[in-house]
């Protein structure tokens, strides 16, 4: 964090800043489509676009390492997990109007409140601090690693304990549900396959 001499104004944006805003708008648009679309798998794929947009934003902020980790974890694993889950359900091709829980307004209020809090925290924390990205790369793997393991070791370790707890919890849950799952499986086998046109028509009528 270096305070640059002088005050680069917001009214004379550089190319990187313009790109940042444009990608930000595209990301926001993709995120909005993700939560409003009526097609389940499309929502998951728009989520890919939104998460990829985040990665590009990180890149523009020279946080190269974070950007690739973002792609690796979110696009490569989380979305694949999501799609896997969706394929296990009978997510149809086309609209699924019954997939709306009716909690849209509550979700909107929570989202706006969370966004307002985050924006307020960031604005309050940095105010007019100007981070110079032109110098040595702040977000390279080396710098990120040094900061993570020198200044933030304790939160890092606490997070890994949290993940371990989640892992153990998942195993416990799946072990306890074992006898009940058998009956669930046999029930789902009796249901027709998704996506075959004739059967879909039969279900709709």
């Amino acid at each position: 964090m270096t305070l640059a001499a002088g005050h680069p104004g917001f009214m004379s944006p550089t190319g990187v800043e313009i790109a940042f805003v444009l990608v930000g708008i595209a990301t926001l648009g993709a995120a909005l489509v993700t939560v409003t679309t009526k097609q389940l798998v499309h929502a998951a794929l728009w989520l890919v676009v939104a998460l990829g947009g985040f990665a590009v934003e990180y890149l523009l902020l020279t946080a190269e390492f974070i950007a690739w980790v973002q792609v690796l974890i979110y696009v490569g694993s989380v979305v694949v997990l999501l799609l896997f889950g969706l394929m296990l359900t009978k997510a149809p091709i086309g609209r699924s109007p019954d997939a709306d829980s009716g909690n849209g307004w509550v979700a909107l209020v929570v989202a706006v409140a969370a966004a307002a809090t985050l924006v307020w925290v960031v604005v309050d924390a940095f105010r007019s601090t100007w981070v110079d990205l032109g110098g040595a790369a702040q977000g390279s793997a080396k710098v990120t690693g040094a900061i993570l393991f020198r200044h933030w070791v304790l939160p890092f370790e606490a997070l890994s304990v949290l993940l371990l707890a989640a892992l153990v919890g998942a195993i416990v849950l799946s072990k306890r549900g074992a006898p009940a799952r058998r009956s669930l499986l046999s029930k789902s086998e009796a249901l027709p396959m998704r996506g075959v046109p004739s059967e879909r028509k039969a279900r709709e009528s």
Partner: protein
């Protein structure tokens, strides 16, 4: 302007490699498989031992009608082949071929870049599997996802072991730091990386997702013409990328006698040998069942990768 020209030249070179090497691997696969099975393989196209067979195949694919099933999700169905092919092109930009900056573009966190972008390619298979409105495609997509989730982790762990050994995430940096004794030191990680990579590419013996005797051709069942050819090209480009990465990370890339002037040749030779092994494995082993796949990943590869990381850490601490 000189810098721009340099960048353009590098990108064109990567594109040419991307278009040529997968075809070479494909042709080699035709011939090697044929000879291992006591056949001749393609003999007519182009004259000499059928060298132009894949060019002829390309012409054939280009002539075929591009069919989209009626019940399919058109746009996703049409987008899927591109999503599965493009990541491999991007990955090739970051793979170092020779010393002194003989690389498309040197990336600081290159190892992460490569693994991250390769993981994106699998989204193409998932999109294809879901959007085809075909139960075999859906089964193929499901198997792809399950396989990816099991094999991404050991691949990452094995890659992390090399990065620890070299003390950098940059691919040219890793090759630069290579010494011959790394091969016995990192051999377990190398085997894990190569095996997991094969599974990620859905190559035999890990070809459950496209098992032709069970689910026709998995996620690609409904594809015809050029889009199908793109999936095939993605598979061969994947082989090239995986073999090049394994040779760069675990076999020392350009290191070898006269590496100063012939470094690029060493990388190519090592990559070619590994590609031969990939084909050899296809002819040798029967397909693994789903439970065997998962068992191999979670009870063999991941513990091995973790042991390799521990070994790397111990040696690193002792020698430094």
């Amino acid at each position: 302007m000189n810098g721009t020209l340099d960048v353009i030249l590098r990108l064109v070179a990567v594109l040419v490699v991307f278009l040529v090497l997968p075809l070479v691997v494909g042709q080699t696969e035709h011939k090697v498989m044929a000879h291992m099975q006591g056949r001749l393989g393609p003999m007519y196209a182009g004259g000499f031992h059928g060298w132009a067979q894949l060019v002829a195949d390309g012409v054939k694919f280009a002539q075929k009608e591009d069919v989209v099933p009626e019940g399919a999700d058109r746009r996703i169905f049409q987008l899927a082949p591109v999503v599965s092919l493009l990541p491999y092109l991007l990955v090739m930009i970051a793979i170092p071929v020779g010393p002194h900056g003989f690389v498309g573009q040197s990336i600081d966190a290159g190892l992460f870049f490569v693994l991250a972008v390769m993981g994106v390619g699998v989204l193409g298979s998932l999109m294809a599997g879901w959007a085809s409105a075909n139960k075999f495609s859906l089964l193929g997509g499901l198997r792809t996802a399950a396989q990816l989730m099991a094999y991404e982790l050991p691949m990452l762990l094995a890659g992390a072991s090399v990065a620890m050994a070299a003390g950098t995430l940059s691919l040219p940096g890793i090759v630069q730091a290579f010494h011959w004794w790394w091969i016995p030191w990192q051999i377990v990680g190398g085997v894990v990386f190569f095996t997991a990579g094969l599974a990620e590419l859905q190559r035999p013996p890990f070809d459950m997702p496209v098992a032709d005797s069970e689910i026709i051709f998995g996620a690609y069942t409904e594809y015809t013409g050029l889009r199908f050819a793109m999936f095939l090209l993605a598979e061969f480009a994947g082989i090239v990328v995986l073999c090049a990465l394994t040779s760069v990370l675990f076999l020392g890339g350009w290191h070898g006698p006269w590496s100063g002037s012939l470094g690029w040749l060493w990388t190519l030779v090592k990559t070619g040998l590994l590609a031969f092994v990939v084909i050899w494995l296809r002819v040798t082993y029967p397909r693994l069942r789903e439970d065997q796949l998962q068992k191999l990943a979670w009870t063999v590869l991941i513990p091995l990768a973790l042991a390799q990381i521990a070994l790397t850490g111990i040696v690193k601490v002792v020698t430094s």
